[in-house]
């Protein structure tokens, strides 16, 4: 890992956003050694591209766009995370109906968490990524009845 890569990942931020969207037609993922969640691939959206442009000062191309929905008992482990290309930017928009305590996206470098995105509707995380970065969606506790986490995740290159 280069110093540039280390510093880039440490520039991850959380911003306020007015991006709102509702999706239907989720499929459930059930390979429990990797994750338990619902997912839906969705088209790229200019609003997310604008968030990235404001962060890095240039327009980038969306290469992946997916919405994840997690309910109590759900999670996504870091080992399930796809390998990221060097220099990509990941945007996570929180579309959850309400905050869910303890539900986070945790970005890791060599296993160590360097950035946490709590479940706060109306916020977006912008995270510079590379091959040494993985992310997981923490377990959603069954103690929080009705907790629903919806995250729109797009990757820009």
């Amino acid at each position: 890992m280069s110093l540039d890569e280390l510093l880039a990942t440490r520039s991850a931020i959380i911003v306020k956003t007015d991006v709102r969207a509702a999706f239907t037609g989720f499929a459930r993922y059930r390979l429990y050694d990797r994750g338990s969640y619902e997912w839906l691939d969705v088209p790229a959206d200019d609003r997310l591209g604008t968030i990235v442009e404001a962060f890095c000062g240039e327009r980038k191309r969306c290469v992946a766009s997916r919405v994840l929905r997690l309910v109590p008992g759900d999670y996504v482990l870091a080992r399930h995370d796809p390998v990221r290309e060097r220099g990509t930017i990941e945007v996570v928009v929180d579309l959850s109906p309400a905050p869910v305590e303890g539900a986070e996206v945790q970005y890791r470098q060599h296993g160590q968490v360097f950035f946490r995105m709590p479940c706060e509707p109306g916020t977006a995380a912008v995270v510079p990524c590379g091959p040494t970065v993985t992310a997981n969606h923490s377990y959603v506790s069954k103690l929080r009845t009705g907790g629903e986490v919806v995250r729109w995740i797009a990757v820009f290159a």
């Binding site: 059930r30 390979l31 429990y32 050694d33 008992g73 999670y75 482990l77 870091a78 303890g102 945790q106 997981n136 923490s138 377990y139 506790s141 069954k142 103690l143």
Partner: protein, 190 residues
């Protein structure tokens, strides 16, 4: 501290026929000494990752207890499971509300774990949740292709659960929703 198991033959039969993968449950496996008082000397710390959240003793804190455990049970478990066993490790775990251990197999190349065990202890607040859940898996191309919940073992006091470690021995500790789940757990090694 440890006493030998009784009636090995039915346990061996239970091991051979267990689903979704080999395991055996021994109830009323009470210790030969005052185990709970002995454990009072050891503190626990919180451990957390993407896979788990719980409190546990340091990895080697209970090595003397583990050595006696392996010396007493190892030869009998070898008869039950057909596996060579020479040593064990052991940690004490405290699962409080919100604690969990998500599905995993315990199988890692180079670690040589052959059996896993959980020994459930009495607790002042019996837990709701905290069950050991075993999954039935199929493998395609070296990875798990289908996974279905198949069997649940309740964390009853003085219950010893021993199960196989393999690429398909997927299991989890369900989230504790109330109370306190206390256990000793670890692996046996060849």
């Amino acid at each position: 501290m440890w006493q030998p198991l009784r009636d090995i033959a039915p346990l061996a039969e239970a091991w051979r026929t267990a689903e979704p993968f080999p395991h055996v449950v021994v109830d009323d496996y009470t210790p030969a000494g005052d185990l709970m008082t002995a454990l009072d000397d050891f503190g626990v710390n919180r451990y957390e990752s993407d896979l788990f959240a719980f409190e546990a003793t340091a990895p080697d804190a209970l090595d003397p207890l583990a050595a006696g455990f392996a010396a007493t049970l190892g030869p009998q478990l070898a008869q039950i499971t057909g596996k060579r066993i020479r040593s064990a490790d052991m940690r004490a775990y405290a699962y409080r509300p919100g604690h969990y251990l998500l599905p995993h197999t315990d199988h890692q190349d180079g670690l040589e774990r052959v059996l896993a065990y959980a020994y459930y202890l009495p607790t002042p607040e019996p837990p709701r949740g905290g069950e050991l859940e075993l999954y039935r898996c199929t493998v395609t191309g070296g990875t798990l292709a289908t996974i279905e919940p198949a069997h649940v073992i309740e964390p009853a006091p003085w219950r010893l659960a021993v199960f196989d470690v393999s690429a398909v021995s997927l299991h989890q500790v369900r989230e504790v929703l109330a109370g306190l789940r206390l256990s000793l757990a670890g692996w046996f090694y060849p």
